[in-house]
């Protein structure tokens, strides 16, 4: 096996990133020792065979995603890398503590801004950033949701910088996806390399659907003892359709589309072969904008007319709640440490990436002066679109963003370009380090729950920092190892 440690010289980004597998001395880190020695004993041919087997199985199982901008029904595989990303249990405990803390604060924040807005009154977050945010839903003002929980499912993107320290890069509180890949990657690894799981104590993740169902049932409208939970999907041409179908099946709940539901004063019902059936909790995988054409986008055919009224009356629970987008917006992100302090009186366990809010004159000036070293992100965009990675950009691209920044500074934030940690990965040329991030999933209901690990995404292109599957990213199994 030709996995040379610390092989980062050839990368177009000129950092010395943290290598998840190898320490600075070139030796495997202790939590990777067992795996690394196993890997070094495997022949190239065998590993090639296993990789093509994985491809074959993923295709047959139909674990595919649709790519926007390509013709309808085009299905692609998300590349799966057979080398796992391993996190030692002690590190995970730290991450888990930080994640629970962060999501708790975010939920309190959401409740606050749709009620009394204490945090704004206290001057900790500018009113404009909250109430002027396009993701703020005035329709939610004064609405009480069960348990005060807004973000029932949160996907928190975590990266690791060159010193080995973790940062939260982004909170995803609308309809975060990817958890099915976490589960399928594990299933695949166990199928391809069963012996690895006898020699390593890998914390299980397979109970995620049970936790999710329990979580969803726990937030049913008051007075409903045996709630009917459904998963609302935009349909089979949505990029995450596989995940919707997968989760619905694993939880044993109906996978519904908007056309299957209708709203009346008394509640939301689904159309069944035996007439209407009451629905109590909707795990919706449709954005706010498309949920109710009578309130939000009029042209939406994916939603349920009248849903908002029934929801506001407390006759059905939506997970996630309407209006969570304001809390994961990039313009709010810099204030999350303030939220943790304000609501919990605690210090953040997980740090934010230092962020320049271009809406402030001096921070804008700094961003403009250091553009070539910074990452600039458009505040309302997601999925790796609409961003600039300074060190990897041409002069023209830099000029273009400089113009955009000056024209609409409030639409942008800037952050130092982090040397995302790398993990050995199969590339065209053999095993080579590639940048990774981590998306753990945090479930909030009557209790907070998460399974150890999450989804590790890997940027397969050499030097690339973008891990999104729509832009050439792949995934790895994520192991939390040891006690």
């Amino acid at each position: 096996m030709s996995a040379q440690p610390g092989q980062s010289q050839s990368q177009s980004t000129s950092f010395a990133p943290f290598n998840e597998m190898y320490g600075a001395d070139g030796c495997a880190r202790s939590h990777y020792r067992e795996y690394e020695s196993w890997l070094s004993r495997q022949s190239d041919d065998l590993m090639r065979l296993k990789r093509s087997e994985a491809d074959l199985v993923f295709r047959r199982v139909g674990i595919t995603f649709a790519v926007y901008g390509e013709s309808a029904g085009t299905e692609r595989l998300i590349p799966f890398d057979v080398i796992p990303r391993i996190i030692p249990a002690a590190e995970w405990r730290q991450l888990e503590t930080g994640l629970r803390q962060r999501v708790k604060a975010l939920n309190l924040f959401l409740h606050d801004i749709y009620h009394d807005g204490e945090i704004v009154k206290a001057g900790r977050i500018p009113a404009e950033a909250v109430f002027g945010n396009s993701q703020y839903r005035p329709q939610m003002k004064g609405v009480d949701v069960p348990g005060g929980i807004y973000a029932h499912v949160g996907g928190i993107d975590i990266v690791r910088a060159d010193g080995g320290e973790f940062y939260v890069l982004e909170d995803n509180l609308r309809v975060p996806s990817g958890v099915s890949y976490m589960l399928e990657n594990r299933r695949m690894m166990m199928r391809l390399f069963p012996d690895l799981f006898t020699s390593n104590r890998v914390a299980p993740v397979e109970h995620y659907p049970d936790l999710l169902l329990e979580n969803l049932r726990s937030v049913a409208p008051v007075g409903v003892d045996d709630p009917t939970v459904v998963l609302l999907t935009p349909g089979m041409y949505n990029s995450a359709y596989f995940e919707h179908a997968f989760l619905a099946q694993q939880m044993g709940i109906e996978l519904v589309e908007g056309q299957d539901l209708f709203a009346q004063d008394t509640g939301v019902y689904m159309r069944t072969t035996r007439g209407p059936k009451r629905v109590d909790v909707i795990y919706r995988r449709i954005d706010d904008d498309f949920l109710d054409p009578t309130v939000f986008r009029k042209d939406s055919t994916l939603g349920v007319p009248g849903l908002l009224d029934v929801y506001r009356a407390g006759r059905v629970t939506l997970a996630n709640a309407i209006g969570t987008g304001v809390a994961d917006d990039k313009s709010i992100y810099p204030f999350v440490p303030d939220m943790i302090d304000f609501y919990l009186g605690e210090k953040p366990v997980l740090a934010n990436v230092p962020t320049y809010k271009c809406r402030n004159r001096d921070e804008l000036q700094y961003a403009l002066d250091h553009l070539a070293q910074l990452v600039v992100k458009e505040v309302h965009n997601a999925g790796g679109y609409g961003m600039l990675i300074g060190p990897c950009s041409t002069v023209e691209e830099l000029d273009e963003f400089r113009r955009r920044l000056c024209a609409h500074p409030e639409n942008y934030i800037a952050q130092p370009t982090l040397a995302l940690s790398t993990c050995p990965t199969y590339a065209e040329s053999g095993v080579a380090p590639r940048h990774v991030d981590l998306r753990p999933f945090v479930l909030s209901g009557q209790q907070t729950a998460l399974v150890p690990g999450g989804l590790t995404r890997v940027a397969l292109r050499e030097g690339s920092l973008i891990v999104n599957s729509s832009q050439g990213g792949g995934t790895k199994d994520t192991w939390v190892l040891g006690r």
């Binding site: 295709r59 047959r60 199982v61 139909g62 349909g235 089979m236 179908a245 997968f246 619905a248 099946q249 109906e254 996978l255 519904v256 589309e257 056309q259 299957d260 209708f262 009346q264 019902y269 689904m270 159309r271 069944t272 072969t273 035996r274 007439g275 209407p276």
Partner: protein, 324 residues
């Protein structure tokens, strides 16, 4: 269950069954066309096969002349033909994909794998190299999807709607296979065939009916049941009126009624009644009476009534019910 889910399951089953029967029909037509006969007779065979599938106009619009290869290409690998095998298998797979959560993993993967394998077979030219082998493959995949359904699915509504789709489609398709012989013979209404070629090529009749039997895997069954020479009236009896012959009209209607009963709701009584009536006519009908009035007329009316059942099932169960 969701009406939409039931609809997808119903059509998933219909499309895979239709692909199977199209393969059976094509297989028998290829086999018959290999018999020594005039070019006209051979062409008549192909045209009848297209006619019975209501595809003659579409075919003629695309091809100036008729060659066996063109028909095969049109009926198998042409995605613009909604009834081609590729279209049916794709539709089956798309319907399965739309409700994969309502299927067992085994059922979904069978449909998905059929679709993936089909593309490989077509690319590798299996149809041109060995049509029989290709049709056998289609039949096998359909057997597999039925078997995996029975072997792995919970016996609940999802299962019953799948079975309903399978047998309604089979009733339709078996009737069409039987009717090929008479299609396009352009006899005056009510007249009894014999078709034209029997005079010039008298032995053809035997081979034809033998091929029909083979197309529904009934050749050996015929021998076992009748222990006698093959006659058209017995073939008709076997494929229509015998409840123990799994691809017969009666056997199909038995299953339609049974599964309909399992999913009945408070607006489906009339549909059950019509299905039951049709079944009773087959169960207590006599082949001589049917042949006396004309097999073709009987089959035409049968197809119409099966179509009516399909529409009623859609209306009663599958089109989303409004709140009442």
């Amino acid at each position: 269950m969701l009406s939409r889910t039931a609809d997808h399951l119903f059509w998933m089953a219909r499309y895979i069954e239709r692909a199977e029967n199209t393969a059976r029909m094509l297989d028998v037509t290829v086999a018959t066309s290999l018999l020594p006969m005039s070019r006209e007779s051979a062409e008549r065979g192909w045209r009848a096969m297209l006619g019975i599938s209501e595809l003659l106009p579409a075919f003629d619009a695309r091809f100036a002349t008729l060659t066996a290869n063109d028909v095969l290409e049109f009926m198998v690998g042409d995605p613009s033909n909604r009834s081609s095998i590729i279209s049916c298998l794709q539709a089956a797979r798309e319907n399965a994909r739309a409700v994969r959560g309502a299927l067992t993993t085994d059922v979904w993967e069978t449909h998905n794998d059929t679709w993936l394998q089909l593309q490989q077979h077509l690319k590798a030219g299996l149809l041109q190299r060995d049509p029989h082998e290709f049709f056998e493959w289609v039949k096998f995949r359909s057997h597999l999807s039925r078997g995996v359904t029975i072997g792995t699915m919970l016996k609940d509504e999802a299962f019953y709607f799948i079975r309903l789709g399978t047998f309604l489609e089979r009733a339709d398709n078996t009737a069409r296979i039987l009717d090929i012989k008479f299609h396009g013979a352009e006899l005056p209404e009510g007249a009894i065939p014999p078709p034209a070629e029997t005079k010039e090529e008298p032995y053809l009749d035997f081979y034809y009916w033998a091929a029909v039997l083979r197309s529904v895997s009934a050749f050996e069954i015929y021998r076992k049941v009748y222990r006698d020479v093959i006659t058209p009236s017995r073939v008709a009896e076997l494929l229509m009126l015998r409840g123990d012959m799994p691809r017969s009209l009666l056997a199909s209607l038995n299953e339609v009624c049974t599964n309909l009963e399992q999913v009945r709701n408070d607006q489906s009584d009339e549909t059950s009644r019509r299905a039951g009536l049709l079944r009773a006519e087959l169960q207590y009908g006599r082949i001589d009476d049917i042949l006396d009035t004309s097999l073709h007329v009987f089959l035409t009316s049968f197809l119409k009534r099966v179509n009516d059942l399909g529409q009623r099932i859609s209306h009663d169960f599958l089109v989303p019910l409004m709140a009442r």
